[in-house]
Structure formats: C-alpha cells, structure tokens
C-alpha cells in the first residue's frame, strides 16, 4: 500500500498515464489518418493511379458520379483497341470518317504507338508506316518516299506533308522536309495519317505518291522530357495545352517544343575522284541539330497554327564533289482558318497559309508561298456530301550562291490558281462512291485537270473492298522553271509531272484487329529532268524538260492486332517493282521488299516494352550506260538491312502506385541493335557507290514527366 503512495510510484504512474494518453492521441491520430485515407480512396478525392482504377470493382466505380467516371477513363486511357484501331481519319476527304469509309488507302500512327515504340523523331515514326521508305541524298540527310518512287530527286518531291490538313509548300526546290523529319515536336502529335496514292484532287501539287497529315494534340496535360545517348545525342521536349473561356467563346491553346542534337556521328568516307584527283578519304561528321516549335490556338470557329524550325546539318551539296559543308534551314508554316457553320448541311472554311523557307549551304534558297483557300462542305442529305474548293497560290523565290550572291534562279513572283470539287455519295448503307477533280492553272501553261474516282463497298460490318482510279500532279518548281545554271537551264513552259494510279484494297476488321491488303499500279509521265537539247539555229544546251516516264507496281499488306489489352502488334509487308522502259527494271534504287514488324507489351502497371524491326531488301543497282565511267566503288557496298529497335518505358508513378505525383517515366532505348556500324544506301546521283543513311547501333536513355 505504502508503495502506492510513494512519490516515485506517483511519478511512475503519471509517466505511464502520460505515455498511455500520448499513445492514445498518437494512435487516435493514426486511426484518424487511416480513416481519412480510407475515405480518401473511397471518395477518390485524390487522383488515383491507372493500376488502382483497374483494380476497383464495378460496384465501387458505379457509385461514382458520371463526371468522376469520365475523369477516371482519362487516367486509364481508352482501350488499346479503341485507341489504336477505331479511329476517325480526315485526310482522304477532309471529313471525319472511319478507315473503312475513307476514300483512300490510309494508314494511321497514333501518339500511343509513338510512345510505345519510342520514336525520337518524325523519321522514326514514318518508318512504322507500310511502304514508306527513308533515304538520304547528298544534299539532305533526311528524306522519305513511298512505294519505291524515287526518280532523280534530292528531296521528297513526290510526297506532301500537311499539318492539320494545311500544306507545307515550298515552290523553289520542292520537298525540303529534312528539318520537319528531324525536328517536328513528337509530343504535339495526336496521330499521323498517311494517304498512299494520288492526293492532288484535294491537296494539289506534290500529293503525288503520298500525303502525310500530322494531326496535333489538344490536351490539358503537360509534359517535359529529356533523352541522351550514343553519338552525343540529346533530345529535349516540352508540351502543354489549356482551354479557357473568353467573352467571345471557348478558346484553347496548345504548344510543343523539341530540341534534337546528334553532334558526334563521325565515320570514314571517301570522296569520289575528280579532275585527276584520286579518291580522298575524310572523316565525315554527319551531324544534325534542330529546334522546333508547334503551336495552335482556337476561338470559336477561328483556328491559328504555327510551326517553326531552325535546322542545321552537314551536307555534301547537290553533288558529292567537295568536302561536306554546313546546311542551315529556317522554316515557318503559319495558318489562320475560319470555319463558319451556316446550317447542319453547309459549312465554309477560309484558310490563309504562309510558308517561308530559307536554306543555305553553298547556295542560298529562299521561298515564300502564300495560299488562300476557300472550302465549302455541303451535305444536302445523309447520303450525299459535296466538297467544293478554290485556291490562290502566290509563289515567290530566289536562289543565289551564298558566297558572292551571283544568281542561280532569278527572283520570280507568280500567282497560280486551282479549283476542285468532290462528291461523296452513299446510295445504300454499305456502298459509297466518290468522284472529284482538280483544275489547276499555272502561269505559261494550259490548265490541267486531275480527276479521281473511288468506290467503297463494306460487304459486311467486318469485311470490305475499295477501288480507286486517280491522277496526281507535281507542278514544276522555281529552279526547274527559271534556273540559269548551265547544268540545267530552267524552262518556264514545263508541264506538271503526272501520276495516274489504280489502287485496290481489301480490308477485314474485327473488334481488335485490322488487316488490309492493297495492290497498286501507277504510270508517271512528263517527268522533269535536265536534258541535252540542240534546237535548230541555237547552241546545244542542257535544259529542264518533260521527257521521262515511269511505272510502279506493287502490293502492300498491313495489320494491326491487339490480342489482349496488354499486347499490341503492328506489321506490314510491301513489295514494289518499277521500270522506265521495256528493259530496265527497278531503276529507283529503292528496295523491292520491306517488312516491318513491331510488338509491344504494356503491363498496364507502369512498364511497357516493345521491339520494332524494319527489313529492307537489297536495292537493284543499275549498270552504268555504255560510254560513261563506272561508279567509283570506294565506300561500303550496299546490301539489304535490318533496323531493329527496342524500347522500354517505366512509369515510376504507376509502378509504385504513388498517389499525388505527376507521371515520371524512364525511357530506355536501343536503335539499330543489329548493326555495329552505319547503314549505307546507294547515292541516287550515281557519283559514288554509297552514302550513309543511319548511324548504326546506339543506346539512349531519358526521363519524361507528365503532369
């Protein structure tokens, strides 16, 4: 008893009581926190991760409001099938429609595929598309073509790039896309639609063998990323978007920025012998660097967009005759469009587009192309859709030597016009006809018409066929019209090159698979090239003329397949052969066969891995004609090649179920894994046997944060 009253005991009891009270308080707080956390999870007041959402039971989800469910669906993302296969496209007709309804052979690469397969540049993205071939020329390191169509072109003249449907048009040289392929901010891309075959009825010149439409994102998310690796490569990008209300209506703004640098790709290269000088071995630094921005804004029916890029790369110039120098390019593509909806049946869009290109190497090329286009879309009934458009094209350009400003192409300023109409008629539910034509008028030559016809028959909801007849054209560019260079004098009366094409497609689509097989045959005429002429009474000279013709034929098989929600397969096989006469086949030095297979696996728990391989068969190398010197075989010989890449994305936030943090994604990537050294391709100017195309094996790593 005494002990109970002992002061020490009191202290002991007091301490025990204090400890107990403190424990209760702390425990109570812990319980309170637990309770609060439990409540938080149940009410989803914090933003849950994708993994947590997918782990929730239907009953839990159905207790949420519709608004909360829509938010959760954005976190989860739509299913692979929805996102990868069930898309609306608009390049083939300037109207939203499914791939099966589109009056054109269309392939799509989505932002999801770009992320899954880990592309670093637009070149990588285009490499995923069936029949798209990447190539280097002595002048530009990055070019692309389709279906093996590459006829004496240093640039991508037979394809057209659109940004949200608006053309990138360059009227002096034509097809300068190296800066776009290297620099376009990938984080701004929602999807890329690739239309194979003629597209001139709606898009005019250069939509010849194919059209690439870059559709940019509208998203309230933001992201920043940085990657680095072999060859000193650095890529950094940022992207953000927001919508807001203004007194004039709903508005939104999106912008993306990308910096690419490949400074240290250096390899031995032998310059061809020239004027008695033997082949000279040099250390060639094939560097490329670009800083690009893409921005778009909208307010009601008004839309504005801007793409600018500042590009710098090594170049051999138009011919490999001297050591490499530096090529710079500044490109600006700006568009302002207004769409007015008169009624459910009628809407009109007026677009003004400015294209400004400045390219410098040994020469300086400057062009300024303005386009003013009015498009009317009239849908009098549910079965009929009529598109009518008119375009004014202002062309300005000049080309000089950079060192002394002596003129190569004198300043020119012209106004061309064109008009087009296209009718889409769906007399019964599963049958659709398209007929259209473009009338275009260039200065100095007669007006020219490019028509097209299409029929689409969805035989069942899963299976259908498409057949097309179409023509496309490529108008002569400034240096072909006006050059005073003795190696190829300009000719103002050049007619457009023409491409007449037959295409047929069979497609089969189920909920998680799409398979399409295509046959194509095209006849190209009036091709423009320098030719030795000796008119009566005049001295012999080399002049640009329409004289070439050419045929392309081939088949394409393309598949997208999502066997499970985690596994995704993208694949294609294409074959092309071409001829410019009765005896010469495969004259374009492009591979006959291409096989592209990508397999991606997304665990949905934060880890996604993929591999992608492109196989290009060995291109045919034509013998040199009798009497001309053989092509010097002094650089590596040409062979078929594989381009294998592997990519892993680890979303730390999803992987460890971290709530309340932005998504932090680690990226690891290997490129050209099978190639110890560079990959070479034939020099299309035939001054040397080969030039480098891809740098070879490289490993890259980086981090991106998505807010």
């Amino acid at each position: 008893m005494i002990r109970y009253h002992h002061p020490a005991s009191r202290i002991y009891i007091a301490v025990l009581a204090l400890v107990l009270i403190l424990s209760l308080i702390i425990t109570g707080e812990i319980f309170a926190q637990d309770s609060s956390m439990g409540k938080q999870e149940r009410t989803l007041s914090a933003k849950p991760t994708r993994k947590q959402i997918l782990a929730m039971k239907f009953e839990e989800l159905s207790a949420l409001s519709l608004e909360e469910i829509t938010e959760l669906s954005r976190i989860v993302g739509v299913t692979s099938v929805d996102e990868l296969l069930k898309l609306l496209v608009n390049t083939a007709s300037k109207s939203d429609e499914t791939l099966n309804d589109a009056p054109g052979i269309v392939s799509v690469i989505t932002a999801k595929e770009i992320a899954l397969f880990g592309a670093r540049t637009l070149t990588d993205v285009l490499n995923y598309v069936v029949s798209v071939q990447l190539y280097a020329s002595p002048l530009f390191q990055n070019n692309f073509t389709m279906r093996g169509d590459l006829f004496r072109s240093l640039s991508s003249k037979h394809v057209l790039i659109l940004i949200n449907g608006r053309p990138m048009r360059e009227s002096l040289f034509g097809g300068i896309y190296a800066q776009v392929l290297n620099g376009f901010p990938l984080a701004s891309i929602e999807r890329i639609e690739v239309l194979r075959g003629p597209g001139s009825v709606l898009y005019g010149s250069n939509a010849f063998t194919g059209t690439v439409n870059i559709i940019t994102k509208t998203s309230n998310e933001a992201s920043v990323s940085a990657r680095g690796g072999t060859f000193g490569a650095v890529t950094a990008s940022a992207e953000a978007g927001a919508s807001f209300k203004t007194p004039l209506g709903d508005a939104r703004f999106d912008a993306g920025l990308q910096y690419n640098d490949l400074p240290n790709w250096t390899l031995p290269f032998r310059l061809p012998p020239q004027m008695g000088r033997p082949p000279q071995e040099i250390s060639y630094n094939a560097f490329q660097r670009s800083l690009s921005a893409m921005a778009s804004a909208s307010l009601g029916g008004l839309k504005a967009q801007l793409f600018v890029t500042d590009y710098r790369a090594s170049t051999f110039g138009p011919a490999i005759t001297r050591p490499p120098s530096v090529l710079t390019n500044f490109t600006l593509n700006a568009d302002l469009s207004y769409t007015h909806i008169f009624s459910d049946a009628l809407q009109a869009t007026l677009s003004g587009t400015l294209n400004r290109y400045e390219t410098k190497h040994v020469e300086r090329l400057f062009s300024n192309d303005g386009l003013l286009e009015l498009t009317l879309n009239y849908k009098p009934t549910n079965t009929l859709n009529i598109l009518i458009g008119g375009l004014l094209h202002s062309r300005y350009g000049v080309q000089t030597f950079a060192s002394n400003a002596s003129v190569i192409v004198p300043e020119y300023s012209q106004l061309w016009w064109s008009a087009y109409a296209e009718v889409h008629w769906q007399p019964i539910e599963n049958l659709k006809f398209t007929a259209g034509a473009q009338l275009n008028k260039a200065v100095n030559i007669d007006a020219d018409i490019s028509p097209r016809l299409a029929v689409i028959w969805n035989i069942t909801s899963e299976f259908g066929v498409k057949a097309f007849y179409g023509q496309a054209f490529r108008a002569a560019v400034g240096f072909e019209n006006f050059s005073i260079n003795q190696n190829g004098l300009g000719n103002p009366r050049l007619r457009p090159e023409t491409n007449e094409s037959l295409d047929a497609e069979v497609f089969w689509e189920q909920e998680n698979v799409r398979l399409a097989a295509v046959y194509f045959h095209s006849w190209q005429n009036n091709l423009i090239a320098p030719r030795n002429v000796a008119p009566p009474g005049q001295p012999a000279r080399t002049e640009m003329q329409n004289f070439g013709s050419f045929q392309l034929e081939g088949a394409e098989l393309e598949a997208k397949y999502a066997p499970t929600n985690e596994l995704y397969i993208l694949g294609s096989v294409s074959y092309q052969t071409n001829t410019d006469g009765p005896t010469l086949r495969d004259v374009t030095m492009m591979p006959n066969w291409m096989v592209k297979v990508g397999i991606g696996y997304d665990t949905k728990n934060g880890i996604a891995a993929s591999i992608f391989n492109t196989f290009n068969s060995k291109p045919n190398i034509l013998p040199t004609p009798n009497g001309t010197p053989p092509i010097p075989q002094i650089n590596p010989t040409i062979d078929g090649y594989n381009l294998l890449s592997a990519n892993v994305n680890i979303d730390i936030t999803d992987l460890f179920d971290i709530v309340g943090l932005p998504h932090i994604i680690i990226n690891l990537r290997g490129e050209d894994i099978l190639s110890a050294g560079a990959i070479w391709m034939p020099d299309i100017t035939r001054r040397i046997n080969s030039i480098p195309l891809f740098p070879g094996r490289g490993f890259y790593g980086g981090v991106s944060v998505r807010f």
Partner: protein
C-alpha cells in the same frame, strides 16, 4: 528473307485465329450507360416493366453489359440486356447501344424506332450529328456529344448533369 516470311506467316496465323475482346474493354461503356439511366427521364408510359438495354451487333459488348448491368434497378424497373442482330424489335428498348463497328446501322436504327422514346447511344465523333442522342468520344476535352433536340423530339429529357459534360450538337432526323 525466309526468316522474315516465316515471322509474317506467324503473325497472319495469329490474326486469322480470331481475337477475343477483353472484358475490360466495355467497362467504361457499361458505367456510362448505367449512369445515363439515371440522367434521362422517359414519358410515364415507359416507366413500367423491365428496363431494356439493347446492344446492336456485338455479342462481346452485350455480354460485358449483361455481366455488369443485368439485375440493377432504374427506379422500380429492372435492367435487362439484350443483343439484337437484326433491327426489328428495337422499339421495346429503353436504351439502344450501337458499338462503333456497327455505326453504319444508325440510320436504320433511327428508322426502326422513329417516334419512340428510346435513348440511342453511339460511339465516336459526329454520330450525334447523324441523329443519335448521346455519343461517347474516345478523345477530346468533352467525353460526350449530345443531340438534345433529337432526344426531346422523342419525349426524352436529359439532365443538366449530363449536358454539362457534353458538347451539344444538332442534326439528324428528329
């Protein structure tokens, strides 16, 4: 080369072996449709009997909706999910869900239920302009397109909570 042909043949075999859709795919469609049952008011004559949700064409999505929704209540009515391979019989439904691969049938569906108080839900941009009442969008800031006029024309009243989340469009046969 042969190796690549073999790889391609394997892929083709996988393609042709048929594909199974995941249960997860229809999860959000089921949730949207369930929530929408509480956001639409029907005329009094449609407030008795079972609450029928019809799915056109896709057995996989119908099965998913059946698993998720059958037996649940809308007021006093019990939800039943039915699959329709043909257009006939659709007028008995309270909701018709037209999956995107069957979107071409929209005009026939509209014709089959003309004047009836049936909520038509589709997937994809532009479908509400064609006459469906609600279309679920895969991407974009707004998750739905709603054709309020078309719904009101057949006696359906859509709640503001739904309209707030949607882009309101017009068009189609009303």
């Amino acid at each position: 080369m042969r190796q690549y042909i073999k790889i391609w043949l394997v892929i083709l075999f996988m393609l042709l072996s048929g594909a199974r859709i995941l249960a997860q795919q229809g999860l959000f469609e089921s949730l949207y449709i369930l929530k929408m049952t509480a956001m639409v008011r029907y005329p009094a004559e449609r407030s008795s009997g079972d609450y029928i949700i019809g799915v056109v064409g896709s057995p996989d999505i119908a099965a998913q909706l059946d698993r998720s929704l059958t037996g649940k209540k809308v007021g006093e009515q019990t939800i039943k999910v039915r699959l329709f391979d043909e257009i006939s019989g659709l007028a008995s439904c309270h909701i018709i869900f037209l999956p995107d691969q069957y979107s071409k049938k929209l005009q026939r569906v509209l014709e089959a239920v003309r004047g009836k108080s049936v909520l038509i839900i589709t997937k994809g941009a532009g479908m509400a302009k064609e006459g469906s009442h609600i279309s679920i969008l895969a991407t974009g800031e707004k998750k739905f397109e709603v054709n309020k006029k078309a719904a009101e024309a057949v006696g359906l009243r859509l709640q503001d909570d739904l309209l707030r989340l949607a882009t309101i469009v017009e068009g189609g046969t009303q």
